[in-house]
Amino acid sequence: MRNVSVDKEELRALVADVLELPVEEVTDDADFVNDLEVDSLVALEIAVRLEKKYGVKMTDSELMTLSSLNWVHQLVKSKLDDAA
């Protein structure tokens, strides 16, 4: 069942799960690459989970610039708004 809205805390939990971190460490602005050690494969995993959960597709360039929780939240939100 796909979500049609995106709750930031749910998103935080999803990202924390993939990264194997406590949710507190996935702060709104923590940089995925520099602070949280996200590499290309982990970024791809996050994108696939987002796709399954929210039905949104990432482009290759969006994948390469997954930068923070806030950024991801905005991206998913805008894609859902576009689809609506």
Binding site: V18, E20, L21, L41, L44, E45, V48, E51, K52
Partner: protein, 332 residues
């Protein structure tokens, strides 16, 4: 022939807490027998396929047991050889069902690379900065012992000075024949040339030497009926035995199944006059290596471990005591 000294042992198998217990019968296991958070604390392990987790955990134990042999050894002088038959089977099954029922777009990227069974050894290399070489052997049933032969050959060719050799397996997925009795877990041995052991003042469990052979089921090139006990040509067993044992007749630890090849090897063994301990072979390549670990750990080092696969592969590993600096088995 290439000999290596075994200086470290590690094992992760249901019901086996340490290498000295590796000869105990393996109990039936339930999911959750392996606690990845306890064995591999920290990030980066939870999403690995189970056989990779077992392998990493067993390797940690073996390296610790060997007294930190990587210290001071340049990364390019370290090598890994891992044997496996079934490490990727459950994952490939899940991936295939996703592709059939939905689409490849739904595959998990973090686990997808592990459809290739070489990724298990690659992950082990990354864990311990092993840059000399990392090989995966996947010969049916014999891959664990073959890993020792392949690794020994590489050491003898000067491609590394230390070898982390092991085998890892996971339960087969539903629908695969042989699932009921499959290997699960990992065993790892740290192996070094004798000169290096002496140089670093380490102690060894024993010396190993491995030889492979192939028994042709039925006449070459002719399809073999599975119901006949087709004549299996065992004549090469004599020369293979001679190459690892010379004129000696050590006791044998035989890991065999009831296939025509297994039966033929069993008959050949009966005609030799060595004492034989039989263990029923399982789906996978781990059991022979597990038995080897147990023998080394308990000091039963004047042995041959022998295994054969239904498809014709045979491997023999001769264990001998170290000339000097032998490990005290009771101390491990």
């Amino acid at each position: 022939m290439t000999d290596m000294v075994v200086t470290g042992l590690g094992i992760v198998v249901p019901g086996v807490a340490k290498p000295t217990q590796a000869l105990d019968p393996v109990p039936a296991h339930s999911p959750g027998w392996f606690d990845v958070a306890a064995a591999l604390p920290g990030r980066g392990y939870r999403w690995l396929p189970p056989a990779c987790q077992y392998l990493l955990a067993a390797a940690r134990s073996a390296l610790e047991d060997a007294g930190d042999p990587l210290a001071g050894l340049p990364v390019e002088r370290r090598g890994v050889v891992v044997g496996t038959n079934n490490a990727s089977m459950a994952l490939m099954d899940r991936m295939d069902r996703t592709i059939i029922d939905a689409d490849a777009a739904e595959l998990s990227p973090l686990s997808a690379p592990f459809f290739a069974m070489s990724l298990f050894a690659s992950r082990l290399s990354t864990e311990h900065r092993i840059c000399g070489f990392n090989l995966t052997v996947n010969t049916p049933r014999t891959a664990g012992l073959d890993a020792l032969q392949v690794g020994a050959r590489a050491l003898a060719a000067g491609r590394a000075e230390l070898l982390v050799a092991g085998a890892t397996e996971e339960v087969l997925p539903a629908g695969e024949p042989g699932r009921q009795a499959g290997d699960v877990g990992a065993a790892v041995l740290v192996c070094e040339p004798l000169a290096r052991v002496a140089e670093r003042g380490a102690t060894g469990y024993g010396v190993v030497r491995t030889r492979a052979a192939f028994l042709v089921p039925g006449a070459a090139g002719v399809p073999v009926s599975p119901v006949d006990v087709s004549p299996v040509d065992v004549s090469t067993m004599d020369s293979s035995w001679a190459e690892v044992c010379g004129a000696e007749s050590p006791s044998v630890e035989a890991v065999l199944d009831d296939s025509p090849v297994g039966a033929a090897v069993q008959s050949w063994l009966a005609a030799q006059r060595a004492a034989v301990t039989f263990t029923t072979a399982r789906a996978g390549c781990l059991t022979p290596l597990r038995r080897l670990v147990g023998l080394l750990a308990t000091g039963a080092v004047d042995r041959v471990v022998l295994t054969a696969g239904a498809e014709g592969n045979v491997a023999l590993t001769r264990l001998r005591p170290c000339a000097a600096n032998t490990r005290d088995p009771a101390g491990s």
